[in-house]
Amino acid sequence: MRRAIGFLGTVLLMMLIFGLYTGVHEVKQHEKILKELDLKIAQEAENIRVLKADWSYFNQSGRLQDLVGKRLKLMPTSPGQIVIMANLPERGPAEAPGVKTVRPSDLPFRETGEGVPGEASSIPSKGPTTQVAP
């Protein structure tokens, strides 16, 4: 009886020791992985910072302005391009029967969007679109 208890105790102790050992080992492994991950995260975070700074550097307003001036046919939005309903001219008289209204889309050529030069409220000729402000 005593022998059995002693034997069982020994087995239990060995199992406990083995369990603890593997536990500690696993924890160490995990810690190692965690350390590597932390380092990677820190590196990535630093990379992101660098990329953000790069993004900001390459998007300097002055640089973009120069590039647009050289490469694109865009111009700064002029206040005249933004029109509110109240500033649009009155609509002409209602369509009389028998009179055909010519719409821009009916014309054989595309609208060039030529505005009246010198008139402040007219749509500028180079404006890509006319925005209607709310």
């Binding site: 406990l16 603890l20 536990g23 500690v24 924890v27 810690e31 965690l34 350390k35 932390d38 380092l39 820190a42 630093e46 910072r49 660098v50 953000k52 700074a53 790069d54 900001s56 550097y57 998007n59 300097q60 307003s61 002055g62 302005q65 700064p76 939005t77 002029s78 206040p79 005249g80 391009q81 933004i82 029109v83 509110i84 109240a86 500033n87 402040a120 409220s121 402000a133 709310p134």
Partner: protein
């Protein structure tokens, strides 16, 4: 063997057995104690103790500061900390200081080989070679394979937008300590934010800042001006969207430009502002009930005041109403208005507008005004049209905002305001006075000296100012400082634009004039036409073209 012997042996054996048993139990107890201790320790180590996770904490440098990013109101990065490497050597490990220094000077341009050799030959354990070297240089140094060279990781402050907003941001020294601008002015906030993992949000709008700088630089080139300054401000809460002083500098290399470039003209420079001060004289007289817009002033004869004779730049030779005095920027008329109000009223209101004290501001580069020594009749007269009292452009911007926004003075700020709750505000004018001032300022732009500042779609209200520069004891008529302070939209102003040009020269385009109406006003107009669409300011219905009102009656019609 005798029986007695047997007996003896038996007792001996029994004694030995007992002894052994005793020893065994002692050994067992000892082992038990030891193992219990071991188990306990094991339990403590594996279960109880806090896991000491080896987070890679970079060796914290005692000298270098880690700072939070600075971003504009839309989150664009204006300043950030990047990881930089600094090169140092262990002098004890260097074999040949002169050779090592020569090799280093080859890969790091600008390194003084002799100085490095001298420092290395002291055989000290720690010798800085170069702080903040680039990654390419770091690789080149590694390639040298010298044993005694080491790198220390340090934060390096980078301003990706270069010169943009340089006077607002300021710059730092090699240890990342702020030396100028916000980097110095709100250094504690920047470091605290960094420790909490946040960023510092400014009220600046990078797009507005660029438009302002671009137009100021263009104006400086066009009029060959010596310097320029500009401010864009939200009149309803004091937030500054753009602040620029030209010439400016690159905060990444603050020492590289002209020394003059570090001087912030928008906040630290104090100037006699000239006619823009007429706004404050009139607002004071109106608000105190000492004059009304119907008051008339005979400006036909110049006023003699002490040693000065006060004349008009644009003589009208007739009787003017108060709005006309402002429109034509009559000095004589303004002095009359100031006399109506009196010195006490004038001073009380200038104080209310914050013009007699330093502006409480985030930048330490913020100057107090230069006040006249005693405030007699002469000072009453000269101050009324902006001479004899020097203030910074920031003073004028904050005061003008109060004049047009319904009469509330806000502390100007460079930090983004979260809500209306944390706005420091003081009522300085009656709402009606503010409304009258807006109307008069609109007339200055619609048909007075500020016509060139007007922008179709965004009616501007404002005032020009042309101040002769003091040379010795007198004033030089040929050297002027021109300014324009304008707000838009005129009816319910949202934003203020202030432009100041130092010694603009006349051009063919300006028909030989270098006054504010020909230099500062069109510059402000260009700034407004660029920033108004960006800031989503609604377009105003087209006004009927305004004609210059000849009399007060026609002014009434215009309203």
């Amino acid at each position: 063997m005798t029986n007695g012997d047997m007996q003896n042996r038996k007792t001996d054996a029994r004694g030995a057995l007992a002894k052994t048993r005793q020893r065994l139990s002692v050994a067992m107890t000892g082992l038990l104690v030891v193992f219990t201790l071991l188990m306990g320790r094991l339990f403590e180590v594996t279960v109880l103790r806090e896991p000491s996770i080896g987070r890679s904490v970079a060796s914290v440098n005692e000298t270098s500061l880690y700072r939070a990013d600075i971003v504009d109101r839309r989150g664009e990065i204006l300043a950030t900390d990047l990881r930089g490497a600094s090169l140092f050597a262990d002098g004890r490990e260097i074999w040949d200081p002169a050779d090592a220094a020569r090799q280093l000077a080859r890969v790091i341009p600008g390194l003084d080989a002799d100085a490095v050799a001298r420092r290395l030959s002291t055989r000290q354990a720690f010798v800085w070679i170069k702080r903040n070297i680039s990654p390419a240089q770091q690789a080149a140094v590694r390639q040298l394979g010298l044993p005694a060279l080491h790198f220390r990781e340090e934060p390096r402050r980078v301003y990706p937008n270069g010169r943009t907003a340089s006077h607002v941001l300021g710059f730092v020294n090699v240890d990342n300590h702020g030396l100028a601008g916000l980097e110095r002015g709100i250094e504690n906030t920047i470091i605290e934010r960094r420790n909490k993992g946040g960023v510092v949000e400014l009220s600046l709008d990078l797009r507005v800042q660029h438009a302002l700088e671009d137009e100021l630089a263009a104006a400086m080139a066009r009029f060959q001006a010596k310097a320029a300054a500009g401010i864009v401000m939200d009149v309803n809460n004091g937030e500054i969207l753009g602040l620029s002083s030209m010439p400016d500098f690159d905060p990444n290399e603050p020492g590289s430009g002209q020394k003059d470039a570090l001087f912030n003209r928008a906040t630290l420079g104090v100037f006699e502002m000239g006619s823009t001060f007429k706004l404050f004289t009139m607002a004071a007289a109106l608000d105190a009930g000492k004059a009304s817009i119907a008051s008339t002033y005979d400006v036909r004869t110049p006023i003699a005041e002490g040693p000065f004779i006060i004349r008009d730049t644009h003589p009208q030779d007739r009787v003017l109403t108060m709005p006309e005095v402002l429109m034509h920027s009559s000095n004589i008329g303004t002095v009359m208005i100031a006399r109506q109000a009196g010195a006490d009223v004038q001073q009380a209101y200038l104080r209310r507008f914050g013009l007699l004290n330093a502006v409480p501001f985030e930048l330490r580069e913020s100057a107090g005004p230069l006040l006249p020594k005693n405030w007699g009749q002469i000072e009453l007269a000269t101050t009324s049209y902006g001479y004899g009292l020097s203030v910074s452009p920031l003073h004028v911007a904050a005061a003008t905002a109060a004049v047009v926004n319904g009469g509330i003075h806000h502390k100007p700020t460079l930090l983004k305001r979260d809500s209306r709750a944390d706005v420091t505000q003081t009522r300085v004018l009656l709402p009606e006075t503010s409304a009258r001032m807006r109307e008069m300022m609109r007339m200055v732009v619609a048909s007075g000296t500020g016509r060139q500042a007007d922008v179709p779609g965004y009616p501007v209200a404002g005032k020009t100012g042309t101040a002769e520069k003091q040379v010795g004891s007198g004033y030089d008529k040929t050297r002027v400082r021109t300014s324009f302070v304008g707000v838009f939209p005129a009816k319910a102003p949202q934003y203020l634009v202030l432009v100041l040009l130092d010694e603009p020269k006349p051009t063919a385009e300006t028909k030989g004039y270098a006054t504010a109406g020909w230099t500062a006003a069109p510059t402000a107009g260009k700034v407004i036409s660029r920033i108004a669409p960006m800031l989503n300011v609604p377009v105003a219905p087209i006004e009927a073209p305004a004609t210059p009102p000849a009399t007060f009656a026609s002014y009434e019609e215009l309203r």
